[in-house]
């Protein structure tokens, strides 16, 4: 993985169907940020772990949104990091919230794998990683 200028055929993460992905990420970045802000400001003491994770989720969505929207070779790497974190987060928090409801008495965006958002939080990182793979600079045309 050396730093190389993008080849003319490189597909950017912010083009074509990537526009949709960025839009969905932006909606989640906005809603997760607002939600985390409200939770931390008004009732952090009720469930510190869950609400701290809400803030982490918000940051992850913000980073993913902006890096996918930039669509440069450098931003792809940060997008990958953010989306892998997102996938780990939704799987971890989802599983914990099912088996240890005590730790998550309040819903976060990732509780029960994002059931409160029609499981979009579970599907989104998978689509994000597939999209990064599809648009990777070294990808052969037609792959």
């Amino acid at each position: 993985m050396s730093e190389q200028p993008p080849a003319p055929t490189v597909r950017r993460t912010n083009s074509g169907p990537g526009r949709i992905l960025v839009a969905v990420y932006a909606v989640f970045a906005l809603s997760a940020s607002a939600r985390a802000g409200v939770q931390l400001a008004t009732k952090y003491a009720e469930a510190p772990l869950a609400y701290a994770l809400s803030a982490v989720a918000a940051v992850v969505y913000i980073v993913a949104t902006f890096t996918l929207a930039r669509g440069t070779v450098a931003s792809r790497k940060w997008a990958t990091v953010a989306i892998v974190l997102e996938l780990v987060g939704v799987l971890t928090v989802g599983t914990l919230s099912v088996f240890d409801a005590q730790a998550f008495p309040r819903a976060t965006v990732w509780s029960t794998y994002g059931i409160g958002y029609a499981f979009v939080p579970l599907v989104l990182p998978v689509l994000g990683l597939l999209w990064l793979r599809r648009t990777r600079p070294a990808a052969t045309v037609g792959a």
Partner: protein
């Protein structure tokens, strides 16, 4: 919430969602009428938020005050962002971007209607 305004937003947002999907399926970027329609959704959404926030200032207290404020503020950001994003690369996907914003406005308005419950004793 003012029911008439909330239901108007719901109706406009639903039409906006479908319209965006239709142009995407037809493989066309959003047309002028569609963009004006998106502006209309935004206009009514702003009216709704201004009235909602004004009622809060005047003393109305819903059960979840902070959440309600968050919804009233975030809901007006969505369509302008989508408008910019849809127009900076005009393809069939622009319609989907507008549809996502409209669907979010729809969902958030539904939630605002349930949030708009007076707190006990207020």
């Amino acid at each position: 919430m003012i029911p008439v305004i909330a239901y108007t937003v719901l109706l406009l947002a639903l039409v906006g969602t479908l319209w965006g999907l239709v142009t995407a399926i037809a493989n066309k970027p959003p047309g002028a009428k569609q963009l004006i329609f998106a502006a209309a959704i935004e206009l009514v959404t702003v009216v709704q938020s201004v009235i909602g926030l004004a009622k809060l200032v005047l003393g109305f207290r819903p059960v979840e005050l902070a959440t309600t404020i968050g919804y009233l503020v975030v809901i007006v950001i969505l369509v302008p962002l989508a408008w910019f994003w849809a127009n900076s690369e005009r393809t069939r996907f622009s319609g989907v971007v507008l549809a996502i914003a409209a669907l979010s406005v729809f969902g958030m308005t539904l939630r605002l209607i349930t949030l708009w419950t007076p707190a006990a004793g207020s």
